[in-house]
Point group: C2
Chain length 441, copies 2
């Protein structure tokens, strides 16, 4: 058999530990699939003496000198599972420029500055793979960057953050509010002590940028993504969604559009939205992830699986390791970044979406006409209206009434301006719920 | 830009016509993704003058001489969408031996004699891609043959035939029998005039062989697949499934196992089975396809989309065309067949499965003991039992009773022998439904 392909592993936490375990357990299979054995050249960690359980690895492989390890001549492939922007960027740019293949799960870095990594890969003639960066174990990036290259993707809609999906699923199942559901998620280990990155949508926004870049052959960074988290989703919102035959999910959306000048654009955003229970994404519960892809010829596609966790993430990392190891043995490099389309990113205000608005209004003549007039002034077309007595009010008593309006598609800025004007109307006692609606057939 | 990559298209029916259309419509995008334009060198058809609607193609490209077209020096890639064993096998072996890349949607040929194609590809140093052969547009084979190569797949469970899924979905929705639902499927164009290949499970068996080969790194052919169709699924079976919180699907299953000597085996089969409504495959309705993959580290994964139709299939074909064209330009060949594991195929009798059995029995003392005794004699463990008066019988009247038994997992031969012995018992008036149960959590 050929001489081994040697790996430098950067990071040995939950994911890194699983990578070490799988490299050991599957070594015969991996060698057969690659045509050469894989060998760990070293493992860079911050603290050598941390308790890592029983890892099947020679303790002398641990080092705190990541850069030194990367630069070693006997290292062919660098596997990074540390996360964060620095020093990961410096390490990976160094490795790629030196012609070493890189496999990384670092979504934050890819979304912040993927361009720097792709440029370094091109410079060094090296492979850059990152299947584990989005939706954990789900084979998603390779289908996007290869299988669908004969087609034209029009829209990607994903549930890519397990923590928020767990929280929203719990709110839907129990009627709990956000704070209570978050507490439960924390207790069960689905939310971190500081849940900001998840519940504010930063994690999903990074993944949205990566997905949009691949789907639309355009560099999209986290800064291009409109981001709203789930902290303001209320039990009343969840109840409103249920009444509509919907459920609320934190969605990452990336869609093609056309600007006023007729040029193609792309809009990328992360926000909570109502989706109908009949949509394939509605049934994705707990901490699972799923990504719904619409392409012109292929039609609708969905990819479903575990989005996080040590073993699922390690599975994706090792799939990439097999691919880059094979490429090295064959002396080839995989297809590099495809960013030829270079579409301009459309702002959220221009994005086309639909709103579901629940109002608490005075129950007297002319109210519906006044409310409908606000929508008309902003050129927003109404799809459905429901009006009924508010809980506890007798009809016609002049007390409060509930008014629920769902719009047709309109620019988000027009919808937001409509809601803002509604809030100022005398006859509107309060705007009880505003949610975007996605996932229509 | 580099000189064009030239394609020979074999077949110009529904799929071929869509390939021609997409090549035309997407030409700029395809060229940008490949780094060179794609050009049609010729289209081999049986009858040149057939009406093909308005195809955006020079009519002089049509020829009836497929072999002559394949052998032309200016042909780099051969795309086959004709189907059937011969002459497709001769054509593709010729092309691959001559070092031309092949993209094919021919599941029957791959399942019958994929080995001959892989051998010819190895001999000619050529690429052989066939994403469109299984589950149409769903990017499934590339994830199996690449993304999951760092993992160990334990089981693949798929709904891979749209016609039978449409028929079973209709039976479930309306309570119709098989014949009536088939008639509806034929009228709506979901079933062919001769539906044998679909309803008898031949189509699904071919796809099962291809999936099993990729998932388990072992050559599996259609002859290795245990095959049962859906023609004997009755309205009573569907009602039994509903009563159990299940639905009936025609499943293709491929699972790892271990034989008596402790050697790893693989079992591949196609048959109707009850699956719980909570299983992700249960919601796959109409003519959609979905494949559920279980891997040791990744956990459960599902791939969902359109399994047939001109445009979806053409999307998969063109994705492969982009890949092989890129490989040609880079002067490389993709990873070849991976069949190193060479597991032995276990017979259906040895396959582990579960049965759901409904009996019409005499309602008198000792019946349950006698029936349970039969299961025990065959070493089959019972999971759940339900007994109640048959429709129209008063309890304790000595009239008929319904007895529904669901077993634990046991070898299929033991389960079949149990049912056979039950049929011979005096106290069993009739066996009203026998179905395998799959998809437990």
């Amino acid at each position: 058999m050929t001489s081994p392909v040697r790996l430098a592993l950067l990071g040995c936490g939950t994911v890194g530990g699983e990578v070490v375990r799988l490299l050991h357990e599957q070594s015969a299979d991996l060698a057969a699939r690659i045509g050469a054995p894989l060998e760990l050249a070293g493992i860079a960690v911050r603290r050598i003496n941390r308790d890592r359980g029983e890892l099947p690895v020679d303790p002398s492989l641990f080092t705190t000198d990541a850069l030194g390890l990367i630069k070693r001549d006997d290292v062919d492939v660098v596997v990074e599972v540390v996360g964060g922007i620095e020093p990961a960027r410096e390490w990976l740019v160094e490795a790629l420029r030196a012609g070493k293949s890189v496999v990384t799960a670092n979504k934050a870095l890819l979304a912040e500055d993927g361009g720097a990594l792709h440029d370094a890969a091109a410079e060094g003639g090296a492979d850059l793979y990152y299947e584990a960066a989005v939706a954990g174990a789900i084979p998603l990036l390779r289908p996007l960057r290869e299988s669908l290259h004969g087609d034209r993707i029009t829209r990607v809609t994903g549930i890519v953050n397990g923590t928020t999906n767990f929280i929203l699923s719990a709110m839907d199942a129990t009627g709990a509010g956000f704070a209570e559901a978050l507490e439960q998620a924390t207790e069960l280990g689905y939310a971190e002590a500081d849940p900001t990155a998840d519940v504010e949508g930063f994690d999903a926004a990074a993944k949205a940028a990566i997905l949009a870049s691949l789907a639309f052959h355009t560099r999209v960074s986290a800064a291009d993504v409109h981001r709203e988290g789930i902290t303001e989703v209320t039990a009343a919102d969840v109840a409103s969604a249920k009444a509509m035959g919907c459920t609320i999910k934190l969605l990452c959306l990336a869609a093609r559009g056309v600007d006023a000048a007729g040029r193609e654009t792309v809009n990328v955003r992360v926000h909570p939205a109502m989706i109908p229970l009949t949509h394939p994404l509605a049934g994705v519960g707990d901490a699972f992830n799923a990504v719904f892809v619409e392409a012109e010829a292929a039609g609708p596609l969905m990819f479903y699986g575990r989005g996080a966790g040590g073993a699922p993430t390690a599975s994706a990392v090792l799939g990439d390791v097999v691919a880059v190891a094979r490429n090295r043995l064959a002396g080839v490099r995989a297809a590099s970044e495809s960013a030829y389309a270079d579409l301009s990113v459309r702002s959220m205000g221009e994005a086309l979406t639909r709103y579901h608005v629940s109002l608490d209004v005075a129950d007297r003549p002319g109210v519906l006409a006044a409310v409908a007039g606000v929508f008309a002034r902003h050129d927003v077309s109404i799809a459905t209206v429901w009006q009924g007595p508010a809980e506890g009010s007798a009809p016609g008593s002049g007390a409060d009434a509930d008014l629920v309006i769902v719009t047709h598609v309109a620019p988000d800025a027009a919808l937001a301006a409509t809601v803002s004007e509604l809030r100022g109307l005398d006859i509107v006692r309060s705007v009880t719920s505003v949610l975007r609606v996605e996932g229509e057939a």
